[in-house]
Structures are given as structure tokens and as C-alpha cells.
């Protein structure tokens, strides 16, 4: 018997796990370094010098602001739509039993289970067939479709943890359906919805594959970055934008984690 096996971690495993985590994080850290490099013609490492001047340059770029503004607006509206649709769907699936529940939960997951390019080209060809011109709303249409699942996953997990008799208890004590929603259901699923909403925002803010098919001539921030990646023209500005994007997406993820950590975990597979 080796009763101490639990407490002693094999050295090899420790190193392999550490290296794996380093592999995941070093490239992202590199982005932060490059945002300060003085080199503006190549990706030279190590940077010949460090400077803050590219932040000022980026700050004064109207195209970056425009792309950022569009991304924020798209993400906000997509999140609101996803919150409404995802919560309704989660409530229906988890609070009632009916024929076809499995099919509906599959339908909600499908937009992220299938490769993004399929969602993208489907929407694009449907817009073409229906002769809908590309606009702000065609982007939102695509984004909201795959954001629903993130809200749905978080809400379903919380509904499952919530004792089914809470709603009955509230009604038993004299609260009608709307009072029960306001005083019992909302306080209990509120943080899960907030977390789901933040993840939906991050997902939409970062989305590029579907967006390339539904955006037409407009540029969201990821589209702007994609253009820079394919044909680099503004390396230093791209470096700064990349760093800002990392920071902007990290905050909602961390917040979502702290909102849901006691109990259900944020559904990573939801992405």
C-alpha cells in the first residue's frame, strides 16, 4: 500500500503540466511586449527599444475608434437579444417537461457546434436569397444566434441547482407568477445571467469568422485586425489594438468566473 500517493505529485507530471500552461500563456504575454516595441517595420525579437508612443498613435486613429464602436454596439445588442432568448429557452427546458426538449437544446447548441464558416455562409446566402442588404443588423443577427447558447448554458446550470419547490413555495405564500419572478427567480438566477451576458459580450466582441460573411463593407474590430493580419500595414497600431483586445476580453471572463464560481462553472465548451 502506498497511502502517500495522493499527496505526492509525480515530478514529470508537474513539469509537463507546467510546460503546457506556459505554452498556453507565453504567446499572449508576447503580445503585451510587442505593444511597446520601437520597431515598426518587422516583428523583430528582442525589440530594439521600448516606447509608449504607439498608444498615442492608436488613440488618434479614427478607423480604430470606428471599428471599436461598431464592435461594442454589435456586442451590446447581440448580448441583450441572447439574454432574452437564452433565458426564455433555459426556463422552458429546465422548469417543464415536454416532448421535444432534447431537440430544442440541440438546436440551441448547433450554431457553435457546427464550424463557424457553415453558420456564416448559410446566413450570407440566405441574406442573398432574401435580398437583404448587409447592415449593422445582419451582423447582430449572426452574433445573437451563436451568443444564445452561452446565456442558455449558464442559466440552465443555475436553474438546475435551484430547488424546484422554491417557485411553488413562493406561490404558496401568496405571490403570483410575476411576483415570483421578481422576488424569487430573478434574485436566484441573476448572477448566472450576468455571467452569461458577459461571456456573450466577449464572444461577440471577438467573433470574426461569421462576421466576415455578414458584415458587408463595415469593419468590426476583429475584421479590422484580420485585414491587418492578411496585409500588415500598421504593425505598431495592430500590436496595441491586440493588447487592448486581450485586456477587454479578460475582464468579463474573470468577472463571469467570480460570479459563478461557487457551484456551477462557466461553460467553456459554450464557445
Amino acid at each position: 500500500m502506498h497511502s502517500d500517493r495522493q499527496s505526492r505529485t509525480p515530478m514529470g507530471l508537474k513539469i509537463a503540466a507546467g510546460l503546457g500552461l506556459a505554452f498556453l500563456h507565453l504567446p499572449i504575454l508576447l503580445i503585451f511586449l510587442y505593444a511597446f516595441t520601437t520597431e515598426d517595420k518587422s516583428y523583430q525579437f528582442p525589440p530594439p527599444g521600448l516606447t509608449l508612443k504607439w498608444f498615442a498613435v492608436t488613440w488618434n486613429r479614427p478607423d480604430v475608434w470606428e471599428a471599436l464602436g461598431l464592435s461594442v454596439r454589435v456586442a451590446s445588442i447581440s448580448t441583450v437579444v441572447a439574454l432574452v432568448l437564452g433565458t426564455l429557452c433555459a426556463a422552458a427546458i429546465s422548469q417543464t417537461r415536454f416532448f421535444g426538449r432534447e431537440t430544442i437544446s440541440l438546436l440551441v447548441i448547433l450554431p457553435i457546434a457546427l464550424p463557424g464558416i457553415i453558420t456564416g455562409i448559410s446566413l450570407r446566402s440566405a441574406f442573398n436569397l432574401a435580398e437583404i442588404p448587409f447592415s449593422f443588423w445582419t451582423i447582430v443577427l449572426g452574433h445573437a444566434t451563436f451568443c444564445v447558447v452561452v446565456v442558455y448554458n449558464n442559466a440552465v446550470a443555475r436553474f438546475r441547482r435551484m430547488s424546484g419547490s422554491l417557485i411553488e413555495a413562493s406561490m404558496d405564500l401568496g405571490a403570483d407568477g410575476f411576483q415570483t419572478f421578481r422576488y424569487v427567480i430573478l434574485p436566484n438566477i441573476g448572477t448566472a445571467l450576468l455571467a452569461g451576458g458577459m461571456l456573450a459580450f466577449a464572444l461577440s466582441f471577438d467573433e470574426v469568422i461569421v462576421t466576415t460573411f455578414t458584415a458587408g463593407q463595415q469593419s468590426t474590430l476583429p475584421i479590422w485586425m484580420l485585414q491587418e493580419l492578411v496585409r500588415p500595414r500598421q504593425r505598431p497600431v495592430t500590436n496595441v489594438v491586440a493588447m487592448v483586445v486581450v485586456l477587454v476580453t479578460f475582464l468579463p471572463i474573470l468577472a463571469a468566473y467570480y460570479l459563478t464560481r461557487d457551484g456551477d462553472q462557466i461553460s467553456g465548451q459554450g464557445k
Partner: protein, 318 residues
């Protein structure tokens, strides 16, 4: 207790108003409430999403007129026939091979992380590992690809490290190889492979960790108690029990690689992948039917993959 709150009757009068009436109606007929809740999401997903998917599928049975370049809206299997051309078959084989290799590599790298996080990490470290996987998973896809453009560039950090270690000949030797080689890492299939593995790795770690966490610790002790060596315990106990997680993770890595068109476009050679072919056919070429037929390929492959996984009993343990 105050007497003011004592209520006389056993049945209280209705509240009146629209809210009261609605609330009563929902209670009397729960199906009505279900209908009200499900209609908006079903309309959205059913009409916008499923409608688009079916429209796409439909178009894969159309064909394109080679002279006018216009879509001919008559049922035909001609477009699917075009998929079998050697150049298109090449694309399919290349993509599937890449997806397979990426999946295997991800599983190998993911295992120690998932195993450590599931079995040894406690309390604070558990949170560190969880966030350590979640943050890269959720951070911007394009930024991650961009980071590898920085890493793999000729003047980038990887070449610099190998140069400092006087190992540049290793990279040069590898790049001289056919198929996997190229002018530099950022324009080689090796580069494409590395970026795929990096970007999809977290999708392998999370389900693997979830599966390993369900393996009771005493099972491993029972195995070694019965005389199994650590290696035997690994192959006969741990691996079979972790398999559902590996399969779940591989569904993500495989499917995501099959459908991606941005990574090979930015880091890679001129050899096309399915996603790039779809993008090119629907865009510049305007050949929507062929693009549609191409998108059916990953769906069919994933269908076969799931069917095989199911037949192998991978879902029984879930």
C-alpha cells in the same frame, strides 16, 4: 402576531388587472406559458438559423453555368461530382489529415494538464488551473493567431531562441523537408499545425479534465493494490475511463480544424483547406453551389466521426 394580518376566508379574491389575469391564466394552463416562453427563441433559431442552413443545403444541389457564371436553379448532383476532382479531393484529404494530427497532438499535450488539474490541484491551485485554461480559451482568436505570427516570423522569438542556442540548423533542416517545410515557419504547414494546436488546445483540456475528475481516486489505488505498475494502471484503468473526455474534446478540435479558414490563410502555404475553398468559392468565384457542397463535407465527416465514436462505446461512459 398582529391581528390585522388574519384573513377570513379560505379562498381569497382575484387580484384583477392584466397581471393578475395573466398569472391566473398561466397557472390554469401551463402549456400556454411554455408556448409564450419557447416561441421567441424557436422563431429566431428555427427560422433564421435552420432556415439558412436548409437554404444552403438546397443550393448545394444547384449548379453554376460555366459560361455565364450564373447559378442554375435546377436539381443536380453535378456540384457534388466536382468535389471528386483531384484538386478538390486533395483539399479534403489535407484538411482531414491536419484535423486528425491536431487532435492527436492536442490530446497528448492536454493530458498532463487535465490530469494534474483533476487529481492533484487543490483549492487555490485548482482555480489557477481553471482560469489558466479558461483565459486562453476565451481570449481573442485573432490575437492568438497574431501572437503566432510574431513568434514564427523569421526575425521572431523562435528563431532568436534557436539562434542563441546555436540550433538554427534544426529549423533549417526541418524546413528543407518536403510537405511540412517551406521558406520559413510562418509559411509552412508545420506553422499551420502549431497554431491549430495552440488555438484549440483548451477545448481538449476542459472535457478531459471533467472526465478525469469523475474517475474515483480509489480506483487507481485499487489497481496498484492489485499489483499493476503505474504504466499498466495508466493503460488499463485511467485511459479507458478518461476516453469519453478525450472523445468529447476531439469532437471540438476536429470540427474546429475542419471548418477554419483564417489560420491557414495567415500562417501557412498556398495549399488550400476546406474552409479556404468555401470562402474562395462563395466570394471571388461566386460559385455558391460548390461552396455549399464543400460545407457539407465537414458536416458529413463529423457525422461519421460521431457515429464511429458512438459505436466504439465512447458515449456509454458519459
Amino acid at each position: 402576531m398582529s391581528t390585522a394580518t388574519i384573513r377570513a376566508g379560505a379562498i381569497l379574491p382575484g387580484r384583477g388587472g392584466v397581471g393578475g389575469a395573466l398569472s391566473d391564466a398561466f397557472w390554469r394552463n401551463p402549456k400556454l406559458l411554455l408556448f409564450v416562453m419557447l416561441t421567441p427563441p424557436l422563431l429566431w433559431l428555427g427560422i433564421i438559423y435552420l432556415g439558412s442552413l436548409f437554404a444552403l443545403l438546397l443550393q448545394s444541389f444547384f449548379s453554376i453555368d460555366e459560361f455565364s457564371g450564373l447559378v442554375n436553379r435546377e436539381f443536380t448532383l453535378k456540384t457534388y461530382g466536382e468535389l471528386l476532382r483531384p484538386s478538390n479531393l486533395d483539399i479534403i484529404v489535407r484538411t482531414v489529415t491536419m484535423a486528425g494530427l491536431v487532435t492527436i497532438a492536442s490530446a497528448i499535450i492536454a493530458f498532463p494538464i487535465a490530469y494534474f488539474a483533476a487529481r492533484y490541484a487543490k483549492g487555490r491551485w485548482k482555480a489557477v488551473f481553471y482560469l489558466g485554461v479558461m483565459l486562453p480559451l476565451w481570449s481573442s482568436y485573432l490575437v492568438k493567431v497574431y501572437a503566432w505570427k510574431l513568434i514564427l516570423a523569421k526575425e521572431g522569438i523562435l528563431n532568436w531562441v534557436f539562434d542563441k542556442l546555436h540550433l538554427t540548423f534544426l529549423i533549417d533542416g526541418w524546413l528543407a523537408l518536403p510537405v511540412v517545410g517551406g521558406n520559413s515557419l510562418s509559411v509552412s504547414l508545420t506553422g499551420t499545425f502549431l497554431v491549430f494546436v495552440y488555438v484549440w488546445l483548451p477545448f481538449m483540456i476542459l472535457p478531459m479534465q471533467a472526465a478525469l475528475e469523475r474517475v474515483p481516486g480509489n480506483l487507481l489505488e485499487a489497481s496498484s493494490d492489485l499489483g499493476a505498475s503505474p504504466r499498466q494502471t495508466f493503460t488499463h484503468v485511467l485511459l479507458p475511463l478518461a476516453l469519453p473526455g478525450v472523445i468529447a474534446g476531439s469532437i471540438f478540435t476536429f470540427s474546429l480544424t475542419l471548418g477554419d479558414y483564417i489560420i491557414p490563410q495567415i500562417i501557412g502555404t498556398s495549399h488550400r483547406f476546406i474552409g479556404m475553398a468555401v470562402y474562395a468559392h462563395q466570394g471571388t468565384a461566386g460559385n455558391i453551389p460548390l461552396a455549399a457542397a464543400f460545407t457539407v463535407v465537414p458536416v458529413v465527416i463529423m457525422g461519421i466521426y460521431l457515429w464511429l465514436a458512438k459505436r466504439a462505446g465512447a458515449f456509454n461512459a458519459l
